[in-house]
């Protein structure tokens, strides 16, 4: 029996590794013991590798994994930590709970690939509670790779607290394959002198539905933030963007920037909301929805590209 389990596991490892590679990940890093990494397929932890300064605890649950990751005080992790979450079968549920703490003066970069290459009926839920300690820094990029079927719900939800002098940079991208249904819900509390940058890039096709809700509360003096969203939707896809920034403290500075390109019968709505209750705070916003710029298209056509290829290059550039 043990033998069979082992075989089953190694096949799963192979499958998820292949999916990880398809999602743009470099599989070699997952097997390099000098690098911290975590691979979760469905509710199984296929590999977990911590390095000095990183405490990694994980617990398999019915539908997923509870993860607790702590970057110890003062540790600046020199190389990025690679995370891979995924589900290779065409149906299933994956619930990831993530408890992340970057202790005072620590720094780390997390690179996550989420891959669902065959999804027809898949739910991927992520619930994260993150604390960026005093003067600590977290850079978090999450790249999704979904298959061509669209039968997937992606529900990432996170609350991030950035303590004094801390910095948090996040980039969420879902460009390859179908989006399915995405409900992205991040909220940030930013304290004195902290910095927050949140970038989302999504390409919706067919009947994909995209909901993006981002909220940043600039609670501390001199806290600064940018919300930047780039959405392209085509066919019958729909998108709804809400970017909220609140300035509650002197010299808090925030900006919300949403740019969307629509084609076909796609429908887009963008609502930047700025709230300020401190006269010394300043929050600005810009939002634009439109078709692809005509001059850009004609320029590429005048270099010999067909109209569709020109549009494709422009949209991909915007999402790059």
């Amino acid at each position: 029996m043990a033998q069979i389990t082992l075989n089953a596991l190694s096949r799963e490892t192979e499958d998820i590794t292949a999916a990880y590679t398809a999602a743009g990940g470099d599989a070699a890093v997952l097997h390099n013991h000098g690098l911290a990494s975590l691979v979760v397929s469905g509710n199984k932890v296929l590999s977990a590798n911590g390095t000095e300064g990183i405490v990694l605890e994980k617990k398999e649950t019915e539908y997923g994994v509870d993860i607790k990751m702590t970057i110890k005080k003062g540790y600046k992790i020199p190389l990025p930590v690679h995370l891979c979450f995924g589900l290779v079968p065409k149906d299933g549920i994956q619930e990831i709970k993530m408890d992340f703490v970057a202790e005072e003066d620590s720094a780390v970069e997390l690179i996550a690939h989420c891959t669902f290459p065959n999804a027809e009926k898949v739910i991927h839920k992520m619930d994260a509670e993150m604390v960026i300690g005093k003067n600590a820094s977290l850079k978090y990029t999450e790249t999704h790779f979904h298959g061509p079927y669209g039968g997937i719900q992606v529900l990432p939800k996170a609350h991030i607290k950035i303590e004094e002098g801390g910095s948090y940079y996040t980039n969420f991208s879902l460009i390859s394959g179908r989006v399915g249904y995405l409900e992205f819900d991040y909220s940030v509390d930013a304290e004195k002198d902290s910095i927050c940058e949140m970038v989302t890039k999504v390409y919706g096709k067919a009947d994909d539905k995209i909901k993006i809700l981002e909220r940043i509360s600039l609670n501390g003096e001199n806290a600064r933030s940018v919300i930047k969203s780039r959405l392209a939707i085509t066919d019958n896809a729909e998108s709804m963007f809400r970017g909220i920034t609140e300035g509650h403290a002197p010299r808090a500075r925030g900006h919300v920037d949403c740019m969307e390109v629509i084609q076909g019968n796609a429908k887009a709505e963008a609502v930047p909301i700025v709230r300020v209750d401190n006269p010394l705070a300043k929050v600005t916003h810009e939002a634009a929805i439109g078709c692809v710029d005509k001059k850009e298209v004609e320029t590429l056509m005048a270099r010999g590209l067909e109209e569709d290829d020109a549009i494709d290059i422009i949209v991909k550039g915007m999402l790059a």
Partner: protein
């Protein structure tokens, strides 16, 4: 050619020879850019009558892409910006039609417009470039495309005076590489480097000929507009 019911080009008769540098001069609003857009076939600038014969073939009914594939291209007076598109990739696009391009050829094109390749190759053709930098990259993209007819709409505008020499030498390079160049310009230096020039006024080509003569005529007789010598004949 009309825009919003207003006739902008009327009875244009213009001939550009093989490997000829032909400059178009004329006052602001004369219709020079409109002529360039009509030749390229941009949306909203479809011609109404007559023909545009290119290499013996009427291209007036062809799309922009089809004209470009035949070797016609245009550098805009104010070039578009492309968020997220790298200079390297932008310059390679025009060369797709002639079997691609090497990194070295891309660098060479940037040097031709006096931009250091190592500084620009990986930059975005976006907001972060200055107007003049963007114009130079536009010209570099014409070089890499190796067109048969390059239509350059004021390649000199927004370019510092010191660099004017380079623009002139670039136009000559295009010619040496086998292109005909139709260049719209307000600069005498560029007119002087041309083989031929045409003067445009109120949507008509008033006269074509020796660039220095045309240039002199424009300076002395057209400003202020002298109706006695330039009564544009409505066709």
């Amino acid at each position: 050619m009309s825009r919003d019911g207003k006739k902008i080009l009327r009875g244009i008769n213009l001939e550009v020879g093989d490997r000829e540098i032909h400059s178009i001069i004329g006052a602001n609003g004369a219709g020079k850019s409109t002529l360039a857009y009509t030749l390229m076939g941009l949306q909203g600038y479809e011609h109404e009558e007559g023909s545009i014969i290119f290499n013996g073939e009427d291209v007036a009914v062809l799309s922009i892409t089809e004209r470009a594939k035949k070797g016609i291209t245009l550098a805009w007076q104010e070039p578009a910006r492309f968020e997220g598109l790298k200079v390297r990739d932008y310059l390679a696009i025009g060369a797709r039609g002639n079997g691609g391009i090497t990194e070295e050829e891309i660098k060479e094109a940037l040097r031709k417009v006096d931009l250091k390749p190592e500084k620009y190759l990986s930059r975005e053709v976006g907001e972060a470039l200055s107007g003049g930098e963007r114009k130079r990259i536009e010209l570099a993209s014409i070089i890499t495309m190796k067109p048969k007819l390059a239509i350059l709409d004021e390649p000199d505008s927004g370019i510092d005076v010191v660099s004017l020499k380079e623009i002139v030498s670039l136009i000559r390079t295009l010619k040496e590489n086998g292109s005909s160049v139709l260049v719209i310009t307000h600069r005498e230096e560029i007119a002087a480097a041309s083989d031929k020039a045409s003067l445009m006024c109120e949507g008509v080509i008033l006269r074509s000929g020796d660039p220095l003569e045309i240039s002199e005529f424009f300076k002395n007789r057209c400003i202020p507009c002298d109706n006695r010598v330039s009564p544009p004949k409505v066709v």
